[in-house]
Symmetry: C3
Subunit: 275 residues, 3 copies
């Protein structure tokens, strides 16, 4: 008899989510920062989703009704974009369109912290950030160093659980080992590669992939886990053939395409990635 509880997300559900993503090609509306729009769109396309960067105040709410999922990433904000994000989030919430909040650099900077906290009222299906951002969003920390976390993922687990209780959705904390929580459940995902942290937009693309998975999988913890596993496997495969950040970024997009449901299934049988 093991003293360790089995992790709460069955591996077959993750492989099934990967298959569903390719089959259903969800339309993912992205309101995201200006630095990462290209890699975000390419990551979604590589995984089999269809990106649409509809982020202006005139169109964001209407599009959130017809999109399969919505990503809101506050990495670069101005007043209009913040307003468009609020409209999209409210519309997604009302239309039951799943949506993901990525609170980039929240905690240390007042404007975006206020914007991101206001967005919580629209009940994000998943919040994805690093430990400093999750602490900052929950009101429990003062932020990281720019986009880098100054805290480890485990330090943010309680804040993540508190956030999850408030939103009803899942919260995913990225770190060396990612920690995902929802509704009393906790899942840890290990692996990935340090070159992800040296590729601008890799974390933001992960947020977009969480949205894509949330479009094809109703359980937000399974959706978030499927995206984290997909990204981690692709990163490890990319790093095996590209040791420097420029070629790694290219290889990672290739591998997001190459990692299909069979690859996910095979990986989870042997990698010990989930705990």
């Amino acid at each position: 008899m093991s003293a360790v509880a089995p992790h709460p997300v069955p591996a077959p559900a993750l492989a099934a989510a990967r298959a569903a993503l390719t089959e259903r090609a969800p339309l993912v509306q992205c309101l995201t920062n200006s630095v990462v729009q290209t890699i975000t769109a390419n990551a979604l396309l590589a995984a089999g989703a269809a990106p649409a960067m509809v982020d202006n105040v005139h169109e964001s709410a209407a599009f959130a009704q017809i999109a399969s999922a919505v990503l809101v990433n506050v990495g670069t904000l101005d007043d209009d974009r913040a307003r468009a994000m609020g409209l999209a989030a409210q519309s997604a919430d009302r239309s039951r369109t799943p949506w993901v909040l990525d609170p980039v650099a929240v905690g240390g900077l007042e404007f975006r912290t206020r914007v991101a906290r206001d967005l919580l009222a629209s009940s994000p299906t998943v919040v994805r950030g690093n430990a400093s951002e999750v602490l900052g969003l929950a009101g429990a920390g003062s932020g990281g160093r720019g986009v880098d976390s100054t805290a480890g993922a485990e330090e943010a687990v309680e804040a993540a659980r508190e956030l999850s209780r408030r939103t009803g959705g899942a919260v995913a904390v990225s770190g060396v080992v990612d920690v995902l929580v929802h509704d009393g459940r906790t899942l840890r995902v290990s692996g990935g590669h340090v070159l992800l942290t040296r590729t601008t937009g890799a974390g933001c693309s992960l947020g977009a992939l969480v949205a894509a998975y949330a479009a094809v999988e109703d359980d937000p913890l399974v959706a978030a886990a499927a995206a984290h596993v997909h990204v981690a496997i692709a990163a490890e495969r990319a790093a095996a053939r590209a040791a420097r950040p420029g070629s790694f970024a290219t290889a990672w997009i290739d591998e997001l395409d190459a990692v299909d449901a069979d690859a996910v299934r095979a990986d989870l049988e042997t990698s010990g990635r989930l705990a």
Copy 2:
């Protein structure tokens, strides 16, 4: 005796346009969406043109007078950018600077549809879009699925001809086989590769290349055809050595550089690409 009319664009004119692009290095002003600015600039540079992303309300009209050509792509809009586009298009029209309109996602979204239709008053030299966008711009369809077309190019041929009559310019409808129309002439360009549709900004870069060619070739149908042929040859060569979307995008930029006038000439002698 063949029952099929010969296509209206002589192959030597396309090779000559490719040579002229390299020789004259046209300065292409781009007012384009925030997702694709990097690949658009790199595609123009690879082909031999000089990109300049001058898209603010203070400078766009003045720059359109001195630019060799202007691209207006409505993929991401806000009020200021829409205003800058109107000013640039009017200035280009008055200055006889050729300009290209790319009506991204027009038809399904009200704001951009109104903006794009208003731009038609400035007589774009070429309109380039997918079938849903051309139908939406012409007022004959209700739009695609985000940036993806839900109609085939042939379904938009009549709308393209109607648009062409209104603007006096050419209209190019992208699809598995591209259909280009102008002034009673119809040209079909086949080839390219499905990986182009999995590379964000490839279609938008095609629009920019149409503008670059329109700067060095007065016949808008020849200019549009030269860009489509250039992109298709480069895509096929890229796909022959890169099977996944990340490395394909890099290889495609390489091949836009490598495909010179001789390569265009050799291709058209054997490919049967034009009809």
Copy 3:
């Protein structure tokens, strides 16, 4: 006895700056144009710095106080971004945060020329541009052709010296041979590769790297020289294995990572790059 004065920047100082950049991982706030944000962030990450694109009016001044250095690049402007740049530059100046001004396309376009000249009042640590831009910023020229210079670097040396006297900082003029001036000293850096001019954002990334080096090296001429040498070595190594612009861009990011202090030291012993 040589009639030529030895150049004013000792090679060991450049290798030491490269080592310091990796060791201290400076946080570089970038207010830069929308075309080049991705490659700028990736170039900084590859070199060992931490980019943060905080460019809105609400946050730019506060962040400039805590950033290690600030880059202001006027390549794409609107009213709000121009205001955010002014606030960041003033805050950097007051906080003694080193900051770099990149006057993209200044001289030929009235709005950005006024914005960039106003920024000079905040005493940029380094100005980096091509000859037309430096002439335009100094009020001595009428601008280039879009982002391309229509003058050679040597033609802008006097304007650079005049600018340097006004700001108290260094001025770096990019060209086939780069010319850097500060406080009566003049340094020329040769090398690099023409493919840099066919990669959108390579020059803008150089500006960001100057900022990163200014965070770890107090002498602005040494900081600017270290960035120019780093970029030139990386470009030559990249061009040795990538002959076309798409793969060159990827290889250049790889080489910005690979070129460490030892590589800088070894290069400067034999390359004759400095004069």
